[in-house]
């Protein structure tokens, strides 16, 4: 283990006295414990202090000296931020001078003659210790990059303002940089730091004009606790403007969430709500400001309820798996080919809850694994049951969320489901949303390759809803492309949309990928897709998602068609 003494900087002491005997005596007292350097007058002392400001631990300063006396040195040091951090002990025998020196910023005094060596050593040691302690506290208090408070100090001071100055109506503001990790990755950390410094400087400038405090709370998240402002749009523009000119090639977008003052709301809660507001405008470059309001509070309470009730939902089977069929439209009549398992929540008090309400919520806090695991288990069991009941081979696809990618037991869990339900790997297809490919490309590609090696088929869900590029497709280890419903929606009316769909189908064919068109609702859409060579279709035209007992009717119908054909 490294001892603390070893990581301390060497302690350098400057002795300033015009009398050689005094310099010698102090040198003799200190030299065993410190590195000692000397100056003969105040001017020489200041020169050395400036040159070695970062290294000096303490200055022992005589007051009466030629050229420049000790008082003049103290006066200069007091007005110099760099020198002010170096503690000074004055060397004197006069009571009046002691008081004056202390008032001028001296840390302590040593009386002449220097006959109490141990006292001198102890005083020097104690003042260095105090000063270094203060500097450590100061380093912990501020973020070095932005010179704003660190989070703990920020909340301590915000609490004090809240408790001791209730007359100040303080708003909570959170400022965040869009895609900061990408900016860092692409342009380097130095450029990222430059952005943070620039914002920090602008926040400090803003706070010099109003009452408030600020913190760099986390990487690219700034907290500002300040008295109510008239125009937050203008304030956001001010911060945005300060980063606009940092680079011609990089667009930097800020977003801001504000929780306006309300009596008896503590800073921690204020900032929780400002954060909620700020998160709501994530990625919204057109309108990056959100002021917290009561409907958000209602939504928060609703969300909290869902989070609390999830375990009960799993245990009491409130979560239900519905199935939406996918039809092969290149046959006549179209043939039931597979299904997608979709979650539904029938809450005993809140009624049916839309997956749109709880999936993003659980995705945001990691609980999505619980939902996904439930769906996989239930879907695998169902596929097995239908296989036994009808002897009918109906693969079902289930969703794999971003969070699942990091589950070290994922493969083991999926393999067990296949084995326990006596399925083949192709009976359980895995859908991975397009944006997950761009988020964690390396990890995901590795995982998908392993799953495909085992025999699972992988579908890229929501293709075209995000920013995936066509050339990315050629590198993806996938079997099926699920074309997002927004491509299909207007293909009847808009020729460009239809041409785009045909283009995607052509590329997929070239890459040997099957395509599922999602969101097909009309016969006209179906016919166009069929003519364009699309294999599979999913959507309300054939069926909405159905509970298993209703879905069985589709299976029975399919079996009856097959029998008639034979």
């Amino acid at each position: 283990m490294i001892k603390s003494k070893q990581i301390q900087r060497p302690q350098l002491v400057l002795v300033v006295d015009d009398q050689e005997i005094n310099r010698d005596v102090l040198g003799a007292i200190l030299e065993d414990d410190y590195e000692v350097i000397y100056a003969c007058d105040g001017k020489e002392a200041l020169d050395i202090m400036r040159e070695k400001a970062e290294k000096l631990s303490i200055v022992l300063l005589d007051l009466m000296m030629p050229v420049m006396n000790g008082f003049e040195v103290l006066e200069t040091v007091q007005s110099d931020d760099l020198l002010k951090r170096i503690p000074i002990i004055v060397l004197t025998a006069e009571k009046n001078a002691e008081l004056q020196a202390l008032q001028m910023g001296a840390a302590d005094f040593i009386t002449k003659p220097f006959d109490m060596h141990e006292v001198i050593l102890a005083r020097v040691g104690r003042i260095i210790e105090l000063s270094e302690g203060r500097q450590l506290i100061s380093a912990a208090e501020y973020d070095r990059l932005t010179m704003l408070y660190n989070r703990n100090f920020f909340f301590e001071y915000a609490d004090r303002i809240y408790r001791y100055h209730p007359e100040l109506k303080m708003d909570a503001i959170i400022l965040n940089i869009e895609q900061f990790h990408l900016i860092n990755d692409v342009n380097g950390r130095d450029f990222g730091d430059e952005i943070l410094k620039t914002i920090g400087m602008e926040i400090r400038s803003f706070l010099s004009e109003t009452e408030g405090i600020a913190s760099r709370f986390d990487a690219d998240i700034f907290y500002i606790y300040c008295v109510k402002q008239d125009d937050y749009q203008k304030l956001l523009e001010r911060f945005q403007n300060c980063v606009n000119n940092l680079s011609e090639n990089v667009s930097i977008h800020l977003r801001m969430g504000v929780k306006p003052w309300r009596e008896d709301v503590e800073p921690v809660t204020m900032f929780d709500r400002a954060r909620t507001a700020c998160n709501m405008v994530r990625g919204n470059y057109q309108n990056p400001l959100m002021i917290y309001n009561d409907s958000m509070r209602t939504k928060e309470i609703f969300n909290q309820r869902l989070l609390n009730d999830l375990n009960a939902a799993v245990e009491e089977k409130q979560l239900m798996v519905y199935y939406q069929p996918k039809y092969n439209i290149q046959c006549d009549p179209p043939k039931l080919s597979s299904a997608e398992a979709l979650i539904r929540w029938k809450h005993p008090e809140l009624g049916m809850i839309s997956p749109g309400d709880f999936i993003p919520l659980f995705e945001g806090n990691g609980l999505i694994n619980v939902v996904d695991n439930y769906v996989w288990k239930e879907a695998a069991r169902q596929v097995g049951e239908w296989k036994n009941k009808y002897g009918f081979h109906l693969p079902v696809s289930v969703n794999l969320s971003r969070a699942d990618i990091f589950d070290p037991q994922l493969i083991e869990k999926l393999v067990n489901l296949i084995k326990n339900n006596d399925l083949k790997y192709k009976d359980l297809k895995l859908e991975v949303t397009e944006s997950a490919y761009t988020d964690n490309a390396k990890k995901l590609l590795e995982l998908i390759s392993n799953l495909r090696t085992l025999g699972f088929e992988v579908e890229m869900d929501d293709f075209g809803s995000g920013y995936s590029s066509l050339n990315m497709l050629s590198e993806m280890p996938i079997d099926v492309l699920k074309m997002d419903m927004k491509f299909v929606r207007n293909i009847e009316e808009n020729e460009t949309d239809f041409l785009l769909v045909k283009l995607i189908l052509d590329i997929a064919k070239y890459l040997n990928l099957h395509v599922v068109a999602e969101g097909v609702e009309k016969e006209g859409q179906l016919n166009l897709l069929k003519d364009a060579g699309c294999d599979l279709v999913q959507g309300f035209y054939f069926s909405k998602p159905l509970p298993p007992e209703e879905f069985e009717k589709l299976i029975e119908k399919e079996i009856s068609i097959e029998r008639n054909e034979n």
């Binding site: 009398q19 050689e20 003659p113 006959d115 109490m116």
Partner: protein, 122 residues
């Protein structure tokens, strides 16, 4: 002549000097240097023009050096003069009394320097 004998001869406080300098070697070095220290000369030289700033600064310097060297008689007298001319202090002594103290320092200084030279040249 030993250092201690020198101190006895000049009426200095050897114990006090050793409390400050701790080693004969260091005391030897600085007592030799004292013979060439010009602060006493400065004080003596201003006996005529009586410049209060020089009187204060030089007596203050003598006081500090001599206190460290245990030359208490010179140090105490220099302290009286320093306090007399410290900026902001009210004068308490007549000029003649001050001059008398300067002459005392001069005499003591001579005695001390002569004895030091004797110690050095033995």
């Amino acid at each position: 002549m030993t250092l201690q004998e020198l101190y006895e001869k000049i009426g200095g406080d050897y114990e006090q000097a050793m409390r400050v300098l701790r080693m004969d070697k260091l005391l030897d070095k600085h007592i030799r240097k004292f013979a060439n220290n010009d602060v006493v000369e400065k004080l003596i030289n201003c006996e005529n023009d009586f410049d209060p700033t020089v009187l204060f600064e030089s007596s203050h310097a003598i006081k500090g050096v001599c206190a460290n060297l245990g030359l208490t008689k010179i140090s105490d007298t220099a302290s009286d003069i320093a306090e007399e001319f410290r900026p902001g202090n009210e004068r308490k002594m007549s000029d003649d009394e001050v001059k008398e103290k300067i002459r005392y320092i001069e005499d003591m200084y001579k005695l001390t320097v002569d004895s030091i030279n004797e110690y050095v040249n033995q």
